[in-house]
Subunit: 210 residues, 2 copies
Amino acid sequence: MELNRQDIENLEQRYRAALINSITGFKSVSLIGTVNAQGDTNLAIFSSVVHLGAHPPLIGMVVRPDSAERHTLENILDTGYYTINHIRRDFYMKAHQTSARYPRNTSEFQACGLTELWEEGFMAPFVAESTVRIGLQFREKIDFHINGTIFIIGEILHLHFPIECWEKDGFVNLEKAGSITCSGLDSYHTTQKIGRLLYAKPNLPPGLKD
Amino acid sequence: MELNRQDIENLEQRYRAALINSITGFKSVSLIGTVNAQGDTNLAIFSSVVHLGAHPPLIGMVVRPDSAERHTLENILDTGYYTINHIRRDFYMKAHQTSARYPRNTSEFQACGLTELWEEGFMAPFVAESTVRIGLQFREKIDFHINGTIFIIGEILHLHFPIECWEKDGFVNLEKAGSITCSGLDSYHTTQKIGRLLYAKPNLPPGLKD
């Protein structure tokens, strides 16, 4: 199938959204936990979390302020803290349900059947069902004027993951942790390892790490 | 395992890079094809491609200017065009090999054994081995001063994918197309569908789409 810019423009809106959301490839999928200054918690599913750098440890994500994601953004700006919680197969339906447009005073934790977990000294709720959990401090907000989306940068203050998933070079084996991936707006997938490859050098052929 | 900000700071540099690069979840992984004004082609693997919006159809990606990615950035700014090409299992080792630091005058297409594909009227090379290919026009460059990375926004001008992967609601089935995912700096994975879920609404329980 070949589509040009005009073909894409001519597609019906929801059809185009499904197409463009899927075409970029498989995505990270996680639950963002936040709370407002009044103590009302919020939980929202995001598939735009992206690695920004390791030193300092920074993570970025794209937020659409006109969507169910707007409460997440308000809470992050309000308190300065948020959590990223990986999704496993055994609760992916509950995680997806957080994308419904619940009213401001409804917590998706309760509405979707997920459990708040509070760590000593950290001001945002984690998801107890997640085995990979990241606590972040808000660092920067960048407005993408081109389409009104917002890019949020946070610094990792806290990491939790199963110790048996930590490999000898520092890599965390997410497949072993049960983290899943998604594509498009609503498709969820487990993964199966092909291989880890050696650091590539111009004069060496590619090769498996183990 | 529990790590706080100071624990992360104390890790050896490459160990920390492996940890932080893996902890954000599974990622899209694709080859970015570019050419400079002199006609020298370049190909580089990226795992930071992220959906920005469907209308207009925009894709973002993070570039590290001190890495093998710097030639990609120079070429995009030079010509204004680039391509995103999904990676399949049958050539993932060649794709990974493009991350080696080849000199400026070496094309990774030739060095890594991948095939340039030129579409009529489009000024950047696609990868013939890819079955999902996106042609983009550069729209915006945003400097993330916090760590010196750069965010590139492009608009989709051209899409190619196998027609049998296009589902009735507009979704492109990437698993059927053979696109793979990655985690960390060097781990590659195929996917296995769990399910597609219905659009979530507050008063409906989550459910499978098909």
